[in-house]
């Protein structure tokens, strides 16, 4: 049998149910934009987005399309093209629950799941309003006699397990191993997710594990539940090391999405 499951875009989209806690990669880690549009077209509802640690056009589009009920992130932004307009609008109008976080906390919560421990400690953060509003976070006094300062307040973050994580990558090998280069946050996301799907530019007839150096660049197939081949699957976002962002298109979106009408028109053209 095939050493991995190759899925059509339709099969892939069907793996994300309403209400799922969906892992969202940052703009530098391979944003599955083609998949995201298909998900919007399907009309998925009440997604909860877990961004590691931020989202750009992917999150903004999902929010503007009414697919999202909650988002946990350290930032939602269009970067040099300014604020994420649909996100800001939704927050300002109380249409979206946000669990404001900070990058290292988003990493640590997944690392807890990666190790199957109920929590991870983190320094910093205490005294911020981020911490103040996070009822799922707790502060304890350092209980260790053998390390740190006795009674020092330490922030504990809960383990978070994602339902589904989808990202876009340059290629898979014939055994379903995914080339991620040094975007190792993708490994953390995969380890902490119940299901992991990947869209790739292409599948190579190689075995990345035949060589120690190519092995070092990949996420092993054992974490992957299905692969779809989608050419330019990150467009208009960048695929690092393969193609740059299409800044013209993102700028176009950033302008259109400032109004409801502009966003709707953009999405109509974009999904057609």
């Amino acid at each position: 049998m095939n050493s991995f499951d190759q899925l059509s875009l339709k099969e892939l989209v069907n793996e994300v149910s309403n209400g799922s806690l969906l892992g969202i990669p940052a703009d530098y880690s391979g944003v599955p934009m083609h998949f995201t549009k298909a998900l919007i077209k399907k009309g998925v509802k009440n997604l909860r987005l877990y961004c590691l640690p931020l989202t750009t056009i992917q999150g903004d589009m999902l929010i503007g399309s009414g697919c999202v009920s909650e988002i946990e992130a350290a930032a939602v932004t269009l970067g040099e093209f300014g604020l994420a307009p649909q996100f800001s609008h939704a927050i300002e109008h109380n249409d979206l629950v946000i669990k404001d976080s900070t990058c290292p906390a988003l990493h640590a919560q997944l690392q807890a799941t990666e190790k199957s421990v109920p929590f991870m400690p983190l320094r910093g953060v205490i005294g911020s309003d981020i911490q103040k509003y996070r009822k799922d976070w707790q502060i304890i006094k350092n209980p260790m006699n053998s390390s740190g300062v006795k009674d020092e307040p330490i922030l504990l973050l809960p383990a978070v397990q994602l339902d589904v994580f989808v990202f876009h990558a340059a290629c898979a090998d014939r055994n379903g191993n995914i080339q991620i280069g040094r975007r190792r946050e993708l490994a953390t996301l995969a380890h902490a997710s119940k299901k992991v799907f990947v869209t790739v530019e292409k599948i190579l007839n190689d075995d990345f594990f035949e060589n120690e150096l190519t092995a070092a660049t990949c996420l092993p197939a054992l974490y992957i539940d299905g692969i779809s081949v989608i050419k330019n699957g990150a467009w208009p976002c960048a695929l690092p090391g393969v193609y740059p962002a299409d800044n013209k298109e993102i700028k176009k979106y950033s302008i259109a999405a400032k109004t409801k009408q502009g966003f709707d028109e953009y999405m109509k053209y974009s999904l057609s």
Binding site: E92, C103, L122, Q131
Partner: protein, 246 residues
């Protein structure tokens, strides 16, 4: 060479002056001026046979990390980053920064992107330089609407790092940790202490020897325009084009 110095070049030069003792400077997202300053400081250190490492997250070439997006934070927590830059929609008298929004959280009036990694970096990097070009009562406020990261902490809290400087278009302040207060250090040309007081939403001390920001000298300007500008164009092409036309 055109000796007219652009505002951005002055700011780059001011920031570079603050990096001369560093071994490792890191620069976060959307920070062309700090990025250029760090690369300039590195080039000048090299000329003095001193090694300064610069990590620019937004660049592939100047991003030295290979352990994924968490490495910046782990590296900083390990004490391996001497200087980092933070901004703020609002910055207040006690150096609290707000990157989240204005109005009463969670029902904000105007929502901004979010806190990024500030809530850790502000605690662990010894020299945090606050950098916000706009100097106005709306950016420099008495009290921020949301604390993304606090300027000062109880002594029980682990905090080897914190705010050291605040640079704007108009002035450079030093933060005094014990007094929990900014102190005016330098003025841009055409600015006065009184003018700055009017444009600043919080009270601050004035250093006894407030000086005017000095322009970069010819040698620095040459390095900046000839060597640094092309580097910056790799990761901030629009900025490099706007300032240096490359």
């Amino acid at each position: 060479m055109n000796k007219e110095i652009k505002r951005e070049e002055l700011l780059i030069s001011q920031l570079a002056d603050l990096l001369v003792h560093d071994k490792h400077v890191a620069v976060g997202a959307a920070s062309p001026i700090p990025g250029a300053a760090a690369l300039l400081a590195k080039e000048e250190a090299k000329a003095k046979n001193r090694r300064l490492r610069v990590t620019i997250l937004h660049s592939n070439k100047y991003n030295n990390f290979t352990d994924g997006a968490r490495e910046l934070f782990d590296c900083a927590a390990q004490g391996r980053i001497d200087t980092f830059f933070l901004g703020g929609v609002q910055i207040d008298a006690q150096a609290n920064i707000n990157l989240v929004g204005t109005g009463e959280y969670p029902k904000v009036i105007k929502r901004f992107p979010g806190s990024f990694g500030s809530a850790l970096m502000y605690f662990v990097v010894p020299q945090i330089i606050l950098f916000r070009e706009e100097h106005s009562p709306r950016t420099l406020v008495n009290k921020v609407d949301f604390i993304s990261a606090p300027g000062v902490s109880d002594e029980k809290i682990y905090r080897p790092g914190g705010p050291k400087y605040l640079l704007t278009n108009r002035a450079l302040f030093k933060f005094n940790k014990d007094l929990k207060k900014f102190s005016l250090l330098k003025l841009n040309q055409n600015e006065t202490t009184e003018g700055i007081e009017k444009l600043t939403g919080f009270k601050f001390d004035v250093n006894k020897r407030v000086s005017v920001m000095s322009d970069p000298d010819i040698s620095r300007l040459k390095i900046l325009r000839n060597k640094i500008a092309p580097m910056v164009s790799e990761f901030y092409p629009e900025f490099a084009d706007r300032i240096w036309g490359i």
